[in-house]
């Protein structure tokens, strides 16, 4: 059974059908990428899966649990973590604090316990710290441990957000445009980390991405979206060469010809 299965998912905002019947399955242990032109509905699908929006139709199931009506704060405990297109870090905290919050879903502490700093609270904090240190080590962020997030360069902030998602010990990781705003070197490193996360941490990864070389490098399977529906699904090479996908990105065959320089 697939780890994540999405069937006939649809949502509308006012009159706009942002997602109009999207279906795909993500198998455990694979890296599955969603591509498509801007406005295709890729981030909206993410927001549906992480329950920021509620679908108007369709079903989602994760690890056997029906996600369609789950409250948004439950998905972390189920094993889903995500990063955001526009970085949503906790700006007034340090990198370490951000990562410690990442582990929240697995903590066992109560308000009264926290007020007296009980043993359960201490244990939660210790576990959170261990998860944070593992993430810091994997992504080589140790020297930023106590730095305030607000002053860090953009590339580092993106990696911190990834680290924070890893602290939630997810089974499924949703990465929204992990390479946007990164230069070639940083994109390279990001590709390596995505592969390492799949291989070493056994995390399934669902990615939204525009950078086709990154897509080809990391993806096991790719789905191309356009105007809220799936155009093609297969390996990166298959989808890239699919005529419908080419048309969605570049326009009809004749237009493509007109773009070619005369011989």
């Amino acid at each position: 059974m697939a780890l994540l299965s999405v069937s006939d998912l649809a949502v509308s905002f006012g009159g706009v059908r942002a997602v109009a019947g999207v279906s795909f399955d993500v198998e455990a242990g694979e890296i599955f990428t969603l591509i498509g032109p801007n406005g295709a509905g890729k981030t909206t699908v993410f927001n549906l899966i992480s329950r920021i929006y509620s679908p108007s139709a369709g079903r989602m199931a994760f690890d056997g649990v029906d996600l369609t009506k789950t409250p948004p704060y439950r998905i972390a405990a189920l094993g889903v973590a995500r990063t955001f297109q526009n970085i949503e870090l906790f700006e007034n905290a340090t990198v370490l604090d951000n990562l410690l919050i990442g582990h929240h879903a697995h903590g066992r502490s109560s308000l009264i316990g926290d007020l007296i700093f009980s043993r359960a609270t201490r244990r939660s904090l210790r576990e959170a710290r261990e998860a944070a240190e593992e993430a810091l080590e994997l992504l080589r962020l140790q020297r930023y441990r106590h730095a305030g997030v607000g002053g860090l360069p953009y590339g580092v902030r993106k990696v911190v957000e990834l680290a924070r998602a890893l602290c939630a010990r997810p089974k499924l990781l949703l990465l929204d445009e992990p390479s946007s705003g990164l230069n070639a070197g940083e994109t390279d490193a990001m590709a390596e980390w995505i592969l390492q996360i799949r291989d070493r941490l056994a995390v399934t990864i669902l990615v939204v991405e525009h950078d086709m070389s990154l897509v080809s490098r990391v993806s096991d399977r790719v789905a191309a979206l356009n105007q809220g529906a799936v155009l093609a699904l297969g390996t990166a090479a298959e989808v890239r060469d699919d005529p419908r996908v080419i048309e969605a990105y570049l326009g009809g065959g004749e237009d493509v010809e007109s773009l070619r320089r005369p011989a």
């Binding site: 981030t43 927001n47 920021i52 955001f84 297109q85 526009n86 949503e88």
Partner: protein, 291 residues
Amino acid sequence: MELAQQVLSGLAQGCVYGLIALGFVLIYKATEAVNFAQGEMLMLGAFGCLALMRFAGLPFAVAAVLAVAGMGALGALVERVALRPLLGQPQFAVVMLTIGLGYVARGLVSMIPDIGPETNALDTPYKGLALRAFGLVVSADHLAIVATTLALCASLYLLFKYTRIGVAMQAASQNQLAAHYMGIPVKRLNGLAWALSGAVAGCAGILIAPIVFVHMNMGNIGLKAFPAAVVGGFGSMPGAIVGGVVVGVVESLAGFYLPEGFKDIAAYVVLLAMLVVKPTGLFGETLRKKV
């Protein structure tokens, strides 16, 4: 008849609330700043008119116009000096700043010799007059309030709909960055919004002076802008007037039909009810963040 009389006086009071809320919404729409000093701007307008009449011997009409213009200038000055440095900071900072400005305004006014610490009467030309029709009595003060409110609303409507500046202000209030790219001087228009708001507040102050008298705490009525703006919808100028009238009428009826004390909290009960039922107000719109 009693009911109609209550409704009528509630209407007039509501127009005052609406005017205060209008100035408030003008600022909010343009700069998303919540101005807790709106009531104090009202008070300054009233004191300005009083001072010009008392110390410079000017007739009411001249003093009133000058006071309103002065308040407009003060509004623009406040925006330039106090608000612009706060660009980019959370809304809370602006709230605290305006609270501070209100305190300072109240304190400084109390230091004006002769009139500051006292409760003063404003000599309007229509003082004491009243209109009697259909068994109802409407005082000239109330009539002036309603008439001025209608006139101001009409002028602002024309300004925003048909003049270039008005359209530019609307654009800036909806999307600052896009307006900036279009060559609209956003910061200057923010100043204009504050100036208009100050002028409207000044008008309101002069209009209610005959009823509540001119004293340093007369700005407390400014708090009623909040129920009015919440009922009408924070970003909506017609909403501000409608909200103010609703609050005024409810208050008037509460004072008449309900036991003592309910009149003071009626406005806030209406506010809370609105937040439960439709937080965005009668004319407001729901907006959602895109992640």
